[in-house]
């Protein structure tokens, strides 16, 4: 069964729909109604640009079973120009190439499959921006 949380998170996962606090400027992904920084309830919707910078990253060599064929792969905390942070896989490169400061574009990819017959879960992953820029 698809998890209710996956469905609830679709705006954030599919479109990077976030919320910016009008009081302190904190950007929350997924959207929140109360700012986690200053408790203000004045949150305005913002759609993040599909760009980001690696804040920190790690290479997964021993993954959960369902990601066996993908190892080794990089996971990173990525900050968008709006200041929102998300954790995502960085793909289409060698895992060890991924370092803090690396410029990424955020592309729509399949994140996981729920077993053999379950739903397909989609979201965004980082891809180094040098790609596609011939």
């Amino acid at each position: 069964m698809p998890s209710p949380r996956y469905t609830r998170d679709i705006p954030a996962r599919y479109r990077l729909d976030a919320a910016r606090c009008s009081a302190c400027g904190h950007v929350a992904l997924p959207r929140r109604t109360i700012c986690s920084g200053c408790r203000s309830q004045d949150m305005e919707p913002v759609r993040l640009t599909r760009r980001g910078t690696v804040v920190t990253s790690t290479v997964i060599h021993v993954p959960p079973d369902e990601f066996t064929t993908e190892a080794p792969y990089a996971m990173a905390i990525i900050e968008t120009p709006e200041g929102a942070r998300l954790m995502a896989q960085v793909v289409d490169c060698q895992a060890e190439e991924v370092v803090p400061g690396m410029e990424l574009s955020l592309e729509f990819r399949r994140i996981r499959r729920e077993g053999h017959g379950g739903i397909l879960c989609y979201g965004h992953k980082g891809v180094p921006v040098r790609r596609h820029e011939a």
């Binding site: 064929t69 993908e70 990819r109 994140i111 790609r131 011939a134």
Partner: protein, 348 residues
């Protein structure tokens, strides 16, 4: 007049060379390359499928059109590799684009013709005034059985076209379809790889229908082949589109820009649409363009387009097909390819 107001394409970054596949099966690489005119083909990443390719291509189409996605009233995706057997690809793609909830969607299938079917229907809905904007997308992550001739060509990629009535980058002058019941290539429900009728796929299937649709639209528009700047025909391999183009009276230089198959492979529903995207990347205002698809089963759709002054203005808002084909690539060994295409049986 309705036309294309935005377009985009996407080709995954992984490649496998024809030589690598030929060597795996003990075939002579040079003769395979010469026979099919294929150098390499794209391979989808482990996390890429028809849905992700469609999203990437359609985002670029919307960026070039500069249209608010919530005004898109219809979205159709043609593919023979929809990730779900039951559940539309279109709903995922629309949600990712910010289209809806007031829109109409359907997934189309017609072997390699499904992409131009999606375009044909999107165009018709815009022409009728039923919707303001409509997206037609063709995308595939095609599979050929190991060792089969199709393994050299079956690749991954797609293109998306946004149709509307204002500010077109290319006017659509006419669109036709030419279809008959022909069993040249098929896959039964539950089968993993498609089957084909070998030599039967040529004359009675590909050539009959591509020639039928192309001659029909040339006659209806009254435009002789010499007046076109560009033409693209479905590309199951390198040879067929050049051969059918020559039979229709097109010169090689008219076919060159859209002939992306030697380094892309056959992206099935994305094949001639991606060739069209490559043409729009290069075309000048007033250039006449012919696109003719082919889908086994069998049929062809043909469109005649005329580029507008707006085309060069929007082109740079997204990557070109050529940049994706010639840009940063990762070459796979046959072993990696087998893993990527899930041809290896795992314990699960």
């Amino acid at each position: 007049m309705a036309g294309i107001i935005g377009y985009g394409a996407y080709i995954p970054r992984n490649r496998i060379r024809t030589d690598e596949i030929a060597q795996q099966w003990g075939r002579e690489p040079a003769s395979i390359r010469a026979g099919l005119l294929l150098e390499e083909k794209s391979v989808p990443g482990l996390d890429e499928d028809t849905i992700t390719i469609s999203v990437a291509a359609a985002r670029d189409a919307l960026a070039r059109a500069d249209v608010d996605p919530s005004r898109v009233g219809a979205l159709y995706i043609g593919s023979e590799s929809h990730p779900y057997a039951v559940k539309p690809s279109g709903t995922v793609v629309a949600e990712a684009l910010g289209v809806g909830p007031e829109y109409h969607t359907a997934d189309f299938e017609f072997a390699c013709k499904a992409g131009t079917e999606a375009m044909f229907v999107a165009l018709g809905l815009v022409e009728s005034g039923r919707v303001e904007y409509a997206l037609g997308i063709g995308a595939d992550t095609s599979q050929g059985a190991p060792g089969d001739a199709l393994e050299y060509s079956a690749s991954a990629g797609g293109a998306a076209f946004l149709f509307g009535r204002e500010n077109p980058v290319a006017d659509v002058l006419d669109a036709v379809s030419y279809t008959s019941d022909t069993a040249d290539f098929w896959r039964r429900e539950g089968e993993y790889y498609p089957r084909h009728g070998g030599r039967f796929t040529g004359e009675p299937a590909y050539f009959k229908h591509v020639l039928g649709a192309a001659r029909l639209i040339l006659e209806r528009t009254g435009i002789p082949p010499a007046d076109f700047r560009h033409a693209v025909f479905h590309m199951p391999n390198g040879k067929f589109p050049l051969s059918v183009g020559a039979q229709l009276g097109f010169r090689r230089d008219q076919l060159e820009t859209g002939w992306v198959v030697p380094t892309m492979g056959n992206t099935y529903s994305g094949s001639s649409p991606t060739g069209l995207a490559a043409i729009l990347d290069e075309a000048s205002p007033d250039d006449l363009i012919l696109i003719t698809s082919f889908g086994s089963g069998a049929g062809s759709d043909a469109f005649v387009l005329r580029a507008t002054e707006r085309l060069p203005e929007v082109r740079d808002r997204a990557p070109t097909v050529r940049a994706m084909l010639d840009g940063s690539r990762r070459y796979l060994s046959y072993g990696e390819y087998a893993k990527y295409r899930e041809k290896i049986r795992m314990n699960s």
